[in-house]
Point group: C2
Chain length 195, copies 2
DNA sequence: TTGATAACTGAACGCTCGTTCAAATCAAAC
DNA sequence: GTTTGATTTGAACGAGCGTTCAGTTATCAA
């Protein structure tokens, strides 16, 4: 008689994704083999195909899951009423969220090239939705006269680049706490938009 | 009788590097094969080894050459006397230099993981030298009371991330000219450091 | 204990990789 | 036309790739 749904597979499946995330972030999608992922999980390569259609799907699923989680978490984030308080909420949220999952962030930005055209389009659309959130805040701020942004689109991309850059240098246990880091970034964002 | 030094090789050599740069930027180091690079040049893979020791050296040489050029160009850039005018010179220089060579910039930031430890250390040192240039400007600005940067190191990395992000969205022939782009970025940089 | 199914193994398949190198071709000088 | 060195070809080598699947093992309920 069949076992109940999910038994061993509910352990191995997440392990496959964790191993893939870690190895893709460390070495890059194309440089990591399915055999290496399997070895990290403790199975043979053939077993991976019980949990992912193929290597490309594995990457795509990781990237899509990250973007979905980012958008959902932002949607749930308490925001203020004014554009400026929403901008502050965005900056602090972005820093916190990105520092909490460095591997997923890294993959989300570095591995776009390794996605097939169809998968790339899907992930790109999610990225644009997230960028759109900040862009809407900036437009509202402009309308409220609270900020200055000669080109809102450019400002959006520049701020996201600056905020996302936190992952390239931040080390846990370094000189600055996460809150101090968020404070400084917020000050810079506020200054950058003339608020 | 032997041909004089440098004849056909002075054509093929640069072509190998150009093809490698373009393909590495487009697809990533690990995803591009020596056969593909050779095909783009119009030779067979075996011919590449007349111009590069191996695949790893090809990447390293491209990245090192880019960093050397960046540092040399910055050293030659006219700067002002005050920290603020040097900061403006840096911001405008960074935008211009990075927009002029998108493939090299892309590789310089994206392919660090694919460098061997020794090569990584060498390129990382060059990156730190460039970051050090901005950091020195910010420290001088702080000392002159011209800017505010609670943590100069963080501010350095944040500004470089913001400026380098220009390559992720800028399209030649888009809505904004390069000068307009540089203007906006400079305004944001100035605002970010409270000047 | 038995039988059924889930989960995994291990090897095969066709393919491609980076690199090497003997042979071939090209081109300049005489 | 010949000689010589530069440059390239083309195939081989050993290794590894992603993926498949028949067979095996583990697990569970009856």
């Amino acid at each position: 008689m069949a076992r109940k749904t999910g038994s061993h597979s509910e352990i191995t499946g997440p392990k496959v994704r964790e191993a893939a995330l870690s190895l893709f972030a460390q070495h890059g999608f194309a440089a990591v083999s399915m055999r290496q992922i399997a070895a990290k999980v403790g199975v043979q390569a053939g077993a991976l195909y019980l949990y992912t259609k193929d290597k490309q799907s594995l990457l795509y699923d990781l990237m899509q899951a990250h973007m979905d989680e980012l958008l959902a978490a932002w949607a749930d984030e308490p925001k203020g009423d004014s554009a400026l308080s929403r901008l502050e909420a965005f900056a602090r949220f972005h820093i916190r969220f990105h520092l909490e999952r460095p591997d997923a962030v890294f993959i989300a930005y570095m591995e776009l090239r390794n996605l097939s055209d169809e998968n790339f389009a899907a992930v790109e659309a999610l990225r644009r939705r997230y960028e759109g959130e900040l862009e809407a805040i900036l437009r509202a701020g402009q309308a409220e006269g609270a900020i200055t942004a000669p080109d809102v689109r450019l400002t959006t991309m520049a701020l996201i680049a600056m905020l996302t850059g936190v992952n390239t240098w931040y080390r846990e246990g370094g000189r600055l706490s996460r809150d101090a880091v968020a404070d400084i970034y917020w000050d810079m964002v506020r200054g950058a938009v003339g608020a």
